[in-house]
Symmetry: C2
Subunit: 273 residues, 2 copies
């Protein structure tokens, strides 16, 4: 098989990575994609590095066995905790979810004051801070965990009084930091982007640039495929989603994230990863 016709591999701890797949499918409609959501062991954000690393290596092994040409780590926790190990274990390009968003934020930030919101694990690892200070040592980064955003999205409460109140509570500590750019450091957050934009504008009384990591990743994947001459020629393509646990809830949420009504989804046992 022509290397270019091989699928892209994407994995996440759950359904969140579908926001990345949605952007990939819209930017690179000819590419085939294989997705793995480790829903039997979601979430990763509260787990230790050792455990997350083990799960990430298992997911990568599964996607390798499917003959992928590029790997997207569509999970912030796994990107923070397992990026280097995954890079070392793969003979094809690996794109994580942190670097594209960080680079994009550095490019658009006017005054070099960047806020990052994500899970406890992501913020605690300070991956964004470390990476941005390498890219531009004069930039200041302020990371702030918003752990209730993921369950809010999964409950479907993405507008109205409750998410607004929670967003206010989480974003208020960022106001005195005078940020000009805010990175959504979790693949669930794009669904809350309108309310985050509204609240941060209200609180700061300024326009804050919101960086949607999923968009940044899709652009980075396209650039990498072009640079390596791996862009698929037109023709048949497919999207296959595998999950380690298949629930009705996942199917419903999957449609919301993917903005598609029909897609192939199969269960794969954690033993076979």
């Amino acid at each position: 098989m022509d290397q270019r016709d091989r699928p892209l591999g994407v994995f996440d701890s759950g359904v969140g990575g579908f926001s990345v797949v949605q952007r990939l499918r819209s930017l690179l409609p000819d590419e085939s994609i294989i997705y793995l959501g480790d829903t039997a062991r979601v979430p990763y954000g509260t787990k230790s590095k050792e455990t997350v690393l083990r799960y990430a290596l298992e997911s990568t092994r599964f996607l390798k066995s499917q003959g992928i040409k590029l790997l997207v780590i569509a999970c912030n926790t796994a990107s923070s905790m397992a990026r280097d190990e995954l890079l070392n274990s793969c003979e094809f390009p690996v794109i994580d979810v942190v670097e594209p968003g960080a680079r994009f934020a550095c490019a658009v930030s006017q005054f070099g004051r960047i806020g990052v919101i994500g899970t406890y694990a992501t913020c605690k690892m300070k991956t964004y801070s470390q990476l941005i200070s390498k890219l531009n040592p004069s930039f200041k980064v302020f990371e702030h965990p918003c752990p209730l955003f993921v369950p809010l999205v999964e409950e479907g409460w993405v507008q109205g009084e409750v998410p607004k109140l929670i967003a206010k509570k989480y974003l208020t500590p960022l106001v005195p930091k005078k940020i000009d750019t805010l990175i959504l450091g979790c693949t669930h957050y794009p669904l809350l982007k309108p309310i985050i934009q509204e609240v941060i504008t209200e609180l700061t009384e300024r326009e804050i640039f919101i960086v949607d990591s999923a968009e940044a990743i899709a652009s980075q994947v396209k650039a990498t495929l072009m640079a390596k001459d791996l862009i698929k020629s037109k023709g048949n393509n497919f999207f296959k989603a595998y999950v380690t646990d298949l629930s009705a809830h996942f199917k419903t949420l999957g449609k919301t994230f993917l903005k598609e009504e029909f897609f192939e989804i199969k269960k794969v046992s954690i033993d076979s990863l």
Copy 2:
């Protein structure tokens, strides 16, 4: 070893079962307890029956290997999905988290109109409805999922505007049901009991009896030990907590649930379950 000196075994998907341990330690201070929290695979509430059953059997096998004299399934999802299989696989008494609360609610309900709040999985299984209608066929049960309560407790937001607003949103649909009793059908919910009591009283303008399942379980364990002559004689005892993933977050939350500052906690690999 005298059968009576063996420890009680308690398992849950995560830290929630500590609310049961807290009640057990206060009601039965002489007993030894071994706890297993399957934190590497928490939560169970969004997973399929097949997966939850597998995890519950693995946890039970581990506790059996520790020589327990009684098993408490301190997880509502596992109680709903795996109770019968666990009963069949154990040669000692097994107490689940659903039956004691259901029995207690039936005993205290004045007009036989009982509300139950829990995770999606618990409410969908309708375990409380089925059990209560067996205990008293004339009783009406109204189950309502409150999935954001668990992350709220884990975030430590158990009082103030946000939990109050969320509780109002979740409990309002129960008002027209004219319930007189409300079962907290999740081991995380006892920490929200004050706010739930406040909101349901405000909404219904009546006193609603709140059934804390953890309290009901502890009473049932005591009654069972007495009936089977398994009460431990005074003397040395211990409390050991095992988790499949050990994070700083778990240690902090554990103290809140347990209302104790110091306790022994060890990691056990999921491979050895």
